[in-house]
């Protein structure tokens, strides 16, 4: 038994995760303490604790699997993951507040989100692909296959439609190609159509952006094929052209979420209400917070989704700036540890995978914490290790287990 648990103590990363998860259970407990009894949030912390136990046991097992095994299963796991995502689109169901989204699959009474597992398998496949190359990507065409590997599951998730989870896949892509040594101008060019899509809402801004992009491409002309420069420009023009139709195809609640980010009074009944209430909760927490379970906004059930997407608002209200900075500092420490592990890894496969998971978590933390204070639009994306959600917690821990397994490889 001692030899089984020992590696846990030796891994600072695992200790941080344990700390975050236990704190998360506490916050879920607090989110259930309301003036108005609600059957939805009461007692969820017990379920979360059970899942945490399962997760720790899972980590002990998975973290012992040799690196070679992961290299072998990377491609089959990826194919399986994409296949299950396809099935989810057809047979999936929504849940709770996300009733309209088909992101869950239930097998034998157990419901899980295939996208969570697909994040791990996609990171594995992308790491395996780039690790097999002789050289870091030097041209845009070197990024085509990696983009396709991430793009396929991303599109399937986007069709559910689950924008938040899709963004996590974007995080995988950029983190992994970054660690593969892709020159930064190339990363910028690869990201440019996404930027063009957003900027296209103002024609004037978009025009300035295209000119700047063209100048950038001109300065970089000796390290890029002509065809690629043209493709970047065309990609941006296409992004600008589809922006309007894409906007029109969004559901009203999605558009409202994007718009209230700019002006909360636009949809005061739903999305705007969430943002205003969340800001009041976080802001009123002050430096030290109102104390564990004592948040007034939360107690009167003003906070929406306070045990899942808006758990960070409860942290802010009850533990104040001290609480939010400590949580962010813990995440910062976790990310630094992961960068260190990637640096120390003997095989590039390990480092690339660790960066893939780093990309997922960084995206989740930035978007989730950012939306509670109006830095980014409200997107349904949970805070890893802290938000309520059994299968999400388990899959985050499994990702951590693979990270530990690959980092401790000394072959």
């Amino acid at each position: 038994m001692r030899s089984l648990i020992a590696p846990l103590w030796q891994q600072p990363m695992v200790m941080v995760l344990l700390l975050l998860s236990v704190f998360g259970v506490g916050m879920i407990y607090s989110a259930g303490v309301l003036e108005v009894p609600s059957s939805v949030t009461e007692g969820l912390w017990i379920r979360q604790t059970v899942f945490l136990g399962v997760s720790v046991v899972g980590l002990l097992i998975v973290s012992r699997i040799p690196l070679r095994w992961f290299e072998w299963i990377a491609v089959p796991a990826y194919v399986l993951g994409v296949g299950v995502l396809g099935v989810t689109l057809v047979a999936g169901t929504g849940t709770g507040t996300a009733e309209g989204i088909s992101s869950f699959l239930s097998i034998a009474g157990f419901r899980f989100q295939p996208a969570e597992a697909a994040k791990i398998s996609t990171a594995l496949a992308l790491a395996a692909l780039l690790a097999s190359r002789e050289e870091p990507p030097r041209y845009l065409r070197d990024l085509l296959t990696p983009a396709a590997v991430v793009g396929l599951p991303l599109v399937l998730v986007l069709l559910q439609p689950d924008l938040g989870t899709a963004l996590a896949f974007v995080g995988i892509f950029f983190a992994v190609i970054f660690w593969a040594g892709t020159p930064w101008p190339l990363i910028l060019f690869a990201a440019s159509p996404g930027l063009g899509l957003i900027l296209a809402f103002s024609l004037r801004v978009w025009a300035v952006y295209i000119v700047l992009l063209a100048i950038g491409l001109y300065l970089y002309r000796f390290r890029l094929y002509m065809v690629e420069s043209v493709a970047v420009i065309l990609g941006n023009v296409a992004a600008g052209a589809v922006a309007q139709p894409l906007w029109n195809s969004l559901a009203e609640y999605q558009r409202n979420r994007l718009l209230v980010f700019l002006d909360p009074s636009l949809d005061p009944r739903n999305a705007g209400w969430q943002l205003v209430q969340s800001k009041v909760a976080v802001g009123s927490g002050g430096i030290f917070g109102k104390g564990f379970t004592a948040g007034t906004q939360k107690r009167l059930a003003f906070l929406p989704e306070q045990h899942t997407d808006f758990i960070f608002s409860v942290v802010g209200e009850e533990f104040g700036f001290i609480g939010t900075s400590v949580v962010l500092a813990l995440f910062g420490y976790l990310f630094f540890r992961m960068i260190m592990m990637a640096e120390a890894a003997r095989r590039s496969f390990a480092g690339l995978f660790i960066f893939g998971i780093l990309g997922v978590w960084l995206t989740h933390v930035f978007i989730n914490a950012g939306m509670t204070i109006g830095v980014v639009p409200v997107t349904g994306i949970p805070l890893p290790f802290i938000s309520y959600g059994g299968s999400f917690l388990l899959m985050s821990w499994m990702a951590a287990a693979v990270v530990v397994a690959l980092a401790s490889d000394d072959s």
Binding site: P136, W179, S265, E317, L358, G370
Partner: protein, 616 residues
């Protein structure tokens, strides 16, 4: 495996750390601003002042008749709510309120349950509180700290009972409906259409409520509107203009036989527009305008005369003799008879078919008749033979094409479809025996398994008055082209239709059964009916008529049905005739009068020479 240069890996790791610090740094900086620098602003809002969203109800659209007279509008009413608090304190406030505001036990339990579920929005105690109660509560504000009194539009029906069935009434939305209409912003306290036009055009009439934000202090008193979040202006519902003529409906209500039940339907021939749709007995829809008192509701539901029942579109009655016109139309459509043709067997009071004898209502018989004569005298023997010629299968086929088993498609909820066999299988399905050819004889005179609503009969007569085609009767006034597209049509030449109308004309001519209901200024073409109601009770009285200026194209169709009225000619015909006269006089600028039918002229001792003029 790519052999990686340690130097390059170090550079990448440094960049990655810088990136992580930058992203998390942005979050910490924003949190610092919100939680440390500006915290006092937010704290003020969360502790001493709490933000509340209050709904501004949108007034429902006004419903008017064709001349702009108001069927339904809004007047200011007062609603009483409690701003959310701890459940037990809300319930004790409710208790104290009962001293001033009538709250029956059921309503009280309902509200307590809502309070226990922890509402975010104010708990609506009464959508329409009497002024005295509002004043009493207002005076004792200190006892009711979280009291919220708002004016909100309240439905009013100036036409009262006259439009009760067709306009319908409103009521407070229930929980299931709130869930179903969440997308429209529905919430408890919404007033929604419950029947009639109010229900049919609910989304149009509803409008969109607005929202205003208020700050309440620790005691729950409203201290002012919330700066920083705009109010959302309410959008009133859309007004509706109907084809109905309110004056005409009031006249019908006035002349409807005292103490009797039934209905009157009037349609415009050209468009199928519904000019009048009246059902007796009626009720006062104003009692539904707010929250209905349980006792009042029970009284209406348990009333043996069923005043809530819309007889004109939901009541099904055996059609009796007026359905002989349908038999005639079916025969002409199929071409199995010509109007001038006489039937082989002259009427001697009965007709033998198979091994059974079928009686005519006149034991002495009618002799040999053509179509118009058979309609005039309502001769059963003629129509028995027509039924035999058509045959059961074809009679059912064309009858179904004319929609006798289906609703007409009027713009009202819950229109009934009546009863009409869908085919010969009907007898096996319902009565468990094979249909005999003799069924056609019963159906041909409007008996057998055949029940129709007054509206359905009106739509059928409309086809006789037009060119054999019938549009769906419509209540909403519409200028859209094609609004009166026929829902079905028959293939009958105009001169043959004229023969049916000729038969109807003779009914109100000298010697006709409804002669005493003929009118001085207008053509009235009718068909009386006295349909057996079964159960040994008196028969139902029908009169189906077409009317218009003398010798000109028909302008209206009018149907009167009086339940257990016994005599089509004595009870239903004068009712229909007086309604038609009232409307047509208005339409043609002839001064109105209460003495209208020939019978009334006789009794009033007026000159009746017009009734014997040769051109009639």
């Amino acid at each position: 495996m790519t052999p990686r240069n340690p130097q390059q890996i170090r550079v990448l790791a440094v960049r990655a750390r810088v990136g992580v610090i930058a992203l998390l740094g942005v979050l910490v900086a924003v949190l610092f601003r919100a939680q440390v620098l500006r915290s006092s602003d937010w704290l003020l809002q969360s502790q001493s002042n709490r933000l509340r969203a209050l709904t501004i109800p949108a007034p429902r659209g006004v419903i008017r008749d064709r001349a702009g007279r108001v069927f339904a509008d809004n007047v200011p009413g007062y609603s009483v709510s409690i701003i959310p608090d701890r459940p037990d304190s809300m319930i004790s406030t409710l208790h104290r309120m009962r001293e001033h505001l009538e709250l029956d036990d059921g309503r009280f339990e309902e509200l307590s349950a809502q309070a226990r579920s922890g509402p975010v929005r104010p708990l609506l105690v009464s959508v329409d509180a009497p002024f005295a109660a509002v004043a009493a509560l207002q005076e004792r504000r200190s006892r009711f700290p979280r009291l919220l009194i708002e004016t909100r539009p309240k439905r009013r029906y100036p036409a009262g009972r006259v439009g009760a069935h067709v306009i319908g009434y409103v009521g407070e939305i229930n929980e299931t409906e709130v869930e179903a209409r969440e997308g429209e912003g529905a919430e408890p306290g919404w007033i929604v259409g419950r029947s009639g036009i109010e229900a049919q055009y609910e989304p149009t009439l509803q409008g969109r409520p607005g929202i205003r934000y208020v700050e309440v202090d620790a005691e729950g008193r409203i201290v002012g509107s919330f700066a920083g979040v705009r109010r959302v202006t309410e959008e009133p519902g859309t007004d509706l203009e109907l084809n109905l003529d309110l004056d005409l409906m009031e006249w019908i209500d006035h002349i409807f036989p005292e103490g009797m039940n039934g209905s009157v339907v009037m349609l415009e021939v050209e468009t199928g527009a519904v000019l009048a749709l009246y059902s007796a007995p009626a009720f006062d829809p104003n009692v539904f305008a707010g929250v209905v008192e349980r006792s009042e509701w029970n009284r209406l539901v348990q009333d043996p005369e069923s005043p809530l029942y819309h007889r004109a579109v939901m009541g099904s009655y055996p059609p009796g003799s007026p359905w002989k016109l349908a038999t005639a139309a079916i025969a002409l459509d199929l071409g199995v008879v010509t109007p001038s043709e006489r039937m082989p067997v002259a009427c001697r009071g009965s007709f033998v078919f198979g091994n059974r004898s079928y009686a005519c209502w006149r034991p002495e018989g009618h002799g040999s008749l053509d179509l118009a004569g058979a309609i005039q005298h309502s001769c059963n023997v003629y129509f028995y033979q027509l039924g035999v010629r058509i045959g059961l299968a074809r009679l059912l086929e064309v009858g179904n094409r004319m929609g006798f088993g289906e609703p007409c498609g009027i713009d009202l909820p819950n229109e009934a479809g009546g009863t009409f066999p869908e085919g010969v299988e009907f007898w096996e399905r319902v009565y468990s025996y094979r249909a005999r050819e003799g069924e056609a004889l019963n159906l041909a005179i409007g008996q057998g398994p055949n029940d129709q609503t007054p509206l359905k009969m009106a739509q059928f007569i409309l086809a006789i008055a037009r060119d054999g085609s019938a549009p769906a009767p419509s209540l909403l006034r519409s200028t859209k082209a094609g609004a009166n597209n026929p829902s079905w049509s028959l293939d009958i030449p105009q001169e043959h239709l004229e023969q049916i109308r000729e038969g109807m004309r003779r009914v109100t001519g000298e010697g006709g059964t409804a002669y005493l209901s003929s009118l001085e200024h207008f053509d009235l073409l009718g068909k009386t009916g006295t349909a057996q109601s079964g159960g040994g009770r008196p028969s139902h009285a029908w009169f189906t008529a077409i009317a218009g200026p003398w010798g000109e194209a028909p302008e209206i169709v009018v149907i009167a049905l009086v339940e257990f009225g016994e005599s089509g000619s004595g009870v239903a015909a004068p009712l229909a005739a007086k309604a038609a006269d009232y409307y047509l006089r208005g339409r043609h600028g002839i001064p109105r009068d209460t003495i209208q039918t020939l019978g009334e002229y006789f009794r009033a001792g007026r000159n009746t020479a017009w009734a014997r003029r040769p051109e009639r």
